[in-house]
Structure formats: C-alpha cells, structure tokens
C-alpha cells in the first residue's frame, strides 16, 4: 500500500470552517475550532484563509524535542502520534514545529495534533471546496504538477501581454 498524505490547497479554501468543526467534534465531541487539529489561518486584509495541519514529517522535529517520548513517529505507517498520557504539556513540540501543525488545547493546555483519523480524515470528507484532499503520494505529485502547469500558463499570458 502506498502512503497517503493530506494535500492542502490554500487557493481553494473558502473559510467555511467545516474542517475545524468536524475535527473538534470527532476528537472532542464538541464543536470548537479552538480544539481542532486542523486550523484555518486568517489573513485579515484579504480575508483569505489557509488550512494548516500536521504533515506527518519524515523528520518530525516534534519527536526530537519531546522529553517524555509522548510524540513518536511510527516508522511503518509514517504517522506521527501523540500520547496525551505521556505528555507533560511542556509544549516543546508546539515550539519546534516549523509549520504550525500542532495546536494547544485551551481545555487541557496540552498539544493536540492530527492523527489522520486512523486513515479516514474527517476534515477531508467535510471539505466540499477542494482545499483538503487525502491522496496517494503519486497522485499528490501529479496534482501538484498539473497545478504548476496551470500557473505557468497564467504567467506566460502575462509575459506575452507585457511584450505586446
């Protein structure tokens, strides 16, 4: 089985927040974006939103800085998991994460992070604007290339217009 990853497309995110709502509900049985593993970053001037979630890094800095081994990477599945029982809430993982993929739960003051819902991420099923997908690595590469080509197309158009 090839590995699947969460593929975020900020361009398509509309800010409806269904991902945050379903995530908190699936994990904490409460609707509360503050307790969601996936978060939307709000860019206030443009009112654009950008989804951010743990990317299950190959070299997860969070696992290196964790003093109690509460965060570990499962080499077989690739999943970076957090064990709240081992966690002392020092928040070093939160500090170390270079992409903001770990949040602090305001209820427990401990970190929370995505576990891909055991292979069926709820945020993906709720996103109907195409901003969050769960795809095979191959497919991710393909999608990214297609997107890049589209962008190049736009770029070429601008360049040709400028020349004219």
């Amino acid at each position: 089985m090839s590995e699947k990853i969460i593929l975020l497309n900020a361009e398509k995110c509309t800010g409806c927040r269904r991902c945050e709502l379903v995530c908190s509900f699936a994990k904490e049985k409460i609707f509360n974006p503050a307790q969601s593993r996936i978060r939307l970053l709000r860019i206030k001037e443009s009112e654009k939103t950008v989804p951010i979630v743990c990317q299950q890094c190959v070299t997860p800095l969070c696992t290196y800085v964790c003093p109690t081994k509460a965060i570990t990477k499962d080499e077989e599945t690739g999943l970076v998991t957090h064990d709240p029982d081992l966690c002392i809430g020092c928040l070093m993982c939160f500090v170390a994460c270079p992409i903001g993929g770990i949040s602090i739960n305001p209820e427990t003051r401990k970190p929370i992070k995505c576990d891909l819902c055991g292979g069926d991420p709820k945020c993906v099923s709720e996103c109907e604007y195409g901003a969050i997908e769960f795809v095979d690595l191959d497919e991710a590469n393909e999608k990214k290339r297609e997107e890049a080509i589209r962008n190049i197309d736009d770029l070429l158009k601008i360049i040709t217009e400028k020349k004219e």
Partner: protein
C-alpha cells in the same frame, strides 16, 4: 454546556456595568433559543414609546441555537431593537429585527458561551466592546472613530488579534443616518432598520468577540447522522456547482424577472449587468460558517477607473437594480458605489433610491434650489456620488435625506408612494416590486412587517411558478396542521388556487424558527431543508423531542410577541397598507406590467389584496378589522404571562 439554558450578557454603556445570567429552560421550550428568546427579552427590556436614539433603546444581538455547529449554513445572527427608520408621519418607529450571517461573529459568540448580547445605554465617548470568553471590556475607540466598516474591523483585528468576529459601523452609522447598517465580519449586513445608526447613537463603534469554549450537543452521534444526510442532499443539488462558482450572482436567471425595474429592456439589462458581467468582477466565493452553498463573494474590479478595488459581500443584485434605476450603464461604476456604501455602512438600496427620487423631483420642478440648500441635482454618476457623500455625512440637504422617506414627505410635501419602483411601507422601501415578481407570499410580508427578504421570510414560494405539489410538500414537511393545509389550498376569487394570505402566516412563523435556530433560509428557499430536518437537528442538540409543528408553534409565539410589541407602539391594520404603487401598472420597454396573482391568472385589485390581508389576520387568529392579536390567541399560545 446544557443547550437548553441560554446565556445572556448585558452591557450598559452609560455606566459600564456588565451583567450575565442564565435564562430558564422554559424559555427554550417556548422560544427555542437565539432570537426567539431574544424577543422574549425585548418584551422585558423595551419600554413603551421610547426614542430609538435614546439610551433606553436596546440592541439584542442573538446567535441562533444551531450556530457554531456543522448544521449546514447555520451562522445567523439576529439583532432586535426599535428601528431608527421613521415608520409613519406621526413619528412611530417599528420594533423589528435584522438577520445576517458571517464567518466569525456568530460562531465566536457561541464559542464564548453567549446566546444573547444585550446592549443598552450610551457611552459618553466613542468605544468598542471586546468580549473574549468570560472577559467583557468597554474600550476607547477614539482612534478608529471616523473610519470605514472594513478599516475599523482590520484595525481592531490588528490591535486585538486575528481570531475575533467583528461587528462594526462606518461614518453613516456614526452620523446616525437612519438607514445605516451594522456589518458582521466586513461581509454581512444587518441592514434596513438602521442598526448602524443605533450603534452610532450609543457611541459604539464596534463589537468584537472571541471564544474558545465550544458548543456541545446532547446526542452527538444522532446529530452527525442528520448533518451527514443534509450534506449528501445539498451535494446532490444540481445548482450547487453554479452557486459555489459565482455566489448569489447565480440567481440572475430568476432575479432579472423578479427585480426588474422597468426602465431598460430586459435584453439591455442582461447585456450590461448579466452573468457575463458578474463574472468579470468575481474573485472568489466566501461562504458563511459551515455553509455548503455560499452566496457571499469577494469581488475585484479588474480594469478601468477603479481597477484593483476589492470588496466583500453580495454586490450584484444591488448594482444591477440601482444601475438600471439610475441609468448607469457601466457595471464597474455601480460595483464601486456598492464598495463605498459598504465602507460607509449605509443601506445601498434606500440611498440610491432616495437619490433617484429627489433628482427626479428636482428635474420636474417639484423641488427647488431653495429646498436643496442651493444644490443643483443633476443626473449623472458624479452628481449622485456627491449627493451620496452628503447623505453619509449629513451635510446640508443630505441631512434631510439621511432621515429617510417620511422626513422627505414631511419636509417637502412629496409622497414617497410616488416613487416608481418597489413600494414603500412603514418608511421602508422594499427590495423588489410585486408587479415584476407577482404577488407571492414574500410580498405580503413586505407590508405585514417592514424588513422583509432574508430577515423576512424565505421559502420555496418566493420564486414564482412553484407547483401546488411543491408548496403542499413544503407545508407538510413543516408539520402544518391538516385543517390549515386545507384552508391554504381552498380556491378563492381573490387569491386563486393558493391562498397567499393564509400561507404567509406559516411562512413568517417558519422564518422566526430559522432565525431562532440561526439556520440560513437559502436552504429552505431551495427546498433543501424543511421543518422536519430542523426539528431533528434541534432535538439532537437540546435533547428535547420536537417535531416540525412544535417549531412552528414556537415561531408563532415569537411572531405574536413581535406584533404585540408593535401594537403597543400604535401599529394596527392601518399601517399594514398595500403600497399604492403596486396597483398602478409599470410602464416598461417590455410593455405594461401589472401585479398578478401567484399563478399569473389575473391582475390583482386593491380589494383582492385587502381580502388576502383579511385571510392573513384570520389565519393568525387576530382581530381582522384591527389587525391585532386577540386575547384568546395570546392565551392559546401561552404568552399571556408577558406584560405588554
């Protein structure tokens, strides 16, 4: 948190006091939540015959019972108050409500743990209200006073942090222009009644709210099952692709008929303001919280004089209708004007129509230079914008116009009913005209209450041409009693096969339900959600067992409280007057257009409409002659404990 217990936070801006209380469970059982309970509070807080601009007036902001959940589109906030808009020549003001969605404000109110936010009093100097979970603070707003709606919001997000929901006003609200609006998250307006002016009168520039507590559900698994089913249903809706591409602009194919002002030919309108033009300024859709359809957009003018200018909201209906009324052929000019109006925080429809009206009066010699304080009223975009600025700032002649239609009438002896589009009732111009759109139930609510459209009532029947079967299916799915269904579909000479008056009663009650729940009426408008769906959601979130018909009974209670409050202010059947405009044919390039009944079988006469109104009051169990609730009805609804 127990979803049967609503939590109210009350702020008195005069002395800075903050009070919180939990409202009894019986309130939820009788009025559902959100604005339903908000109306119950209005009956407690709004004293008789106060000036809307006095410190005693209250603004009750309510987030619906389903807001903050995954119920599709449940994002609505309703504001209740005594409206600043002057409703009658003898100076009456309607107690009404306005409803808007948004991405941050309503959901954050709920996350902070509040269902109702009550604001009363008046601050001595400009302030903004900051709510962050349990913390409630009144803070100095002198630095942001004078700024536009969006600039105010951006500044506050910069100072206080990005995750706040923001309700803000612009200069029009500060200057108490009686049709100034309050904006939620820069995008959604609480419009038409003058809530912006009310905030201005209280020296309240903005309210910001943030919460981290969450919204809990009594039966989580059941709730998710219902959400999943609705989700599937909405995804299967064939028009969804179009809506998530262009937002409310997707409604053009209906809109161009129902909102046709009759100045240009429809072909010309299509060419200048049709979908092709709409797509030219479309940037992306901006759905409200949890919405799967999306009617709001971000626009960007891509070329010409205003190239690069962006805005948030829903600009196409406004720009198209007023563009035709004022004969502005360049859609970009009108989009720019919508941007200016949103920044100023003013009702675009009312403003542009008043400008059109007074310019016509001036050109016909009915207004003189003396009347306008030396101002020459010319046709043309530049003159219009100059007058627009004067209204926003209450400069010179603009000071009179800023008081609205009734003041115009009093000052210059002109009759607002002579304005040639839409119609006016209780000092409020309607969004559209019965002649172009036929006499459907929404048209009824234009004069049974003054703030229709989204805040009014949205069901299937708001578009013409729905079949009797579809309408019947709808009333059944809301659990309307068999006898009532029979009455609604008993043919009459005045309303044909479908009794608009009798149906309107239920449609209004359904709207009260939707607002109390914070459910967006776009879903009921398209027949994607009905009372039975909302009842299931409400049952799962509260743990109560309710059916559609129970919701409608709560809605009826709320409708009657609204009416009783306004009866106390002196409103009776006399004020529910049929706009005379609808009884005169509209001369248009498409020919003569008259007000037809719902199924377009005949031209409506004044007598027909009066009879429909009789049926409406009768169905409500109100005194038909006076148009007020009877003691028996009040007792039956168990609202006789309220002193009004």
């Amino acid at each position: 948190m127990d979803r049967l217990i609503s939590k109210e936070v009350k702020v008195d801006l005069t002395n800075g006091s903050v009070g919180k209380r939990e409202l009894p469970e019986k309130f939820a059982r009788k009025y559902l939540g959100g604005s339903g309970i908000g109306w119950r509070l209005a009956a407690e807080y709004l004293k008789e015959d106060i000036d809307p601009f006095s410190p005693e007036n209250v603004i009750i902001l309510c987030a619906g019972a389903l807001v903050g959940t995954l119920a599709p589109g449940a994002s609505k906030v309703t504001a209740i108050s005594k409206f600043p808009v002057i409703a009658t020549k003898d100076g009456k003001h309607f107690i009404g409500s306005s409803t808007g969605g948004g991405r941050y404000f309503g959901v954050n109110m709920k996350m902070a743990g509040y269902d109702q936010l009550v604001i009363t009093g008046r601050s001595e100097k400009p302030v903004y209200l900051k709510i962050s979970d349990d913390e409630v603070k009144i803070k100095d707003a002198s630095d942001i006073w004078g700024k536009g709606v969006d600039e105010t919001a951006d500044k506050l997000l910069e100072i206080e942090g990005k995750n706040y929901g923001v309700a803000s006003i612009g200069p029009a609200g500060e200057n108490t222009v009686r049709f100034a609006e309050m904006f939620l998250d820069k995008t959604n307006s609480l419009g038409r009644g003058g809530l912006g002016a009310l905030m201005g009168s209280k020296n309240l520039k903005a309210i910001i709210v943030k919460g981290t507590k969450g919204v809990s559900v009594a039966r989580p698994d059941e709730f998710m099952e219902i959400v999943d089913e609705l989700h599937r249903r909405i995804l299967a809706w064939p028009f969804r692709d179009h809506w998530i591409k262009i937002g409310m602009g997707a409604g053009w194919s209906t809109f161009k008929h129902t909102q046709y002002p009759g100045i240009w030919s429809k072909a010309k309108w299509e060419k200048l303001y049709g979908e092709e033009k709409r797509l030219q300024t479309l940037e992306e859709v901006m759905p409200c919280n949890s919405c799967l359809i999306s009617c709001r957009i971000k626009w960007k003018i891509k070329d010409g004089e205003f190239a690069g200018e962006t805005g948030l909201g829903s600009p196409y209906g406004k720009s198209a209708t007023s563009g035709q009324l004022l004969n502005i052929e360049d859609h970009r000019k009108m989009i720019h004007w919508v941007t200016l109006a949103n920044r100023a925080g003013i009702d675009f429809y009312t403003t542009t129509r008043i400008i059109d009206f007074v310019t016509k009066l001036y050109q016909d010699g009915k207004l003189t230079r003396e009347d306008t304080g030396g101002l020459e009223l010319k046709r043309g975009y530049k003159s219009y914008l100059a007058l627009f600025d004067k209204i926003v700032n209450r400069d010179d002649f603009g000071d009179i116009l800023a008081d609205g239609w009734i003041r115009l009438q009093q000052e210059f002896g002109v009759d607002p009913q002579e304005f040639w589009y839409a119609g006016i009732c209780k000092g409020t111009d309607f969004i559209y005209d019965a002649r172009a759109s036929n006499f459907h139930p929404l048209m009824m609510t234009f004069f049974t209450r003054p703030r229709p459209h989204h805040g009014g009532s949205h069901t299937l029947t708001n578009s013409p041409g729905k079949s009797l079967e579809e309408i019947r299916n709808q009333v059944e799915r809301w659990g309307i009693k068999k006898e009532a269904v029979k009455r609604i579909f008993t043919p009459t000479t005045h309303s044909g096969k479908f009794n608009v008056g009798r149906y309107t009663k239920y449609m209004e009650d359904m709207m009260r339900v939707k607002n109390a729940l914070g459910a967006c009426s776009i879903y009921t408008f398209f027949g994607l959600m009905f009372g039975d769906d909302l009842a299931k959601l409400y049952s799962a979130i509260t743990g109560l067992e309710v059916k559609g018909r129970d919701l409608v009974t709560c809605g009826e209670r709320i409708s009657n409280i609204v009416k009783l409050l306004n009866v106390r202010e002196g409103f009776t059947r006399k004020e529910d007057a049929v706009p005379e405009l609808w009884l005169r044919p509209m001369d248009s390039p498409e020919g003569k257009i008259e007000t037809m009944d719902y199924f377009k079988t005949k031209v409506m006469t004044k007598e027909d409409i009066e009879k429909i109104l009789d049926d409406y009051y009768d169905e409500r169990g109100w005194d038909v002659k006076k148009g007020v609730p009877t003691k028996q009805t009040i007792r039956n609804l168990e609202i006789d404990d309220i002193e009004l």
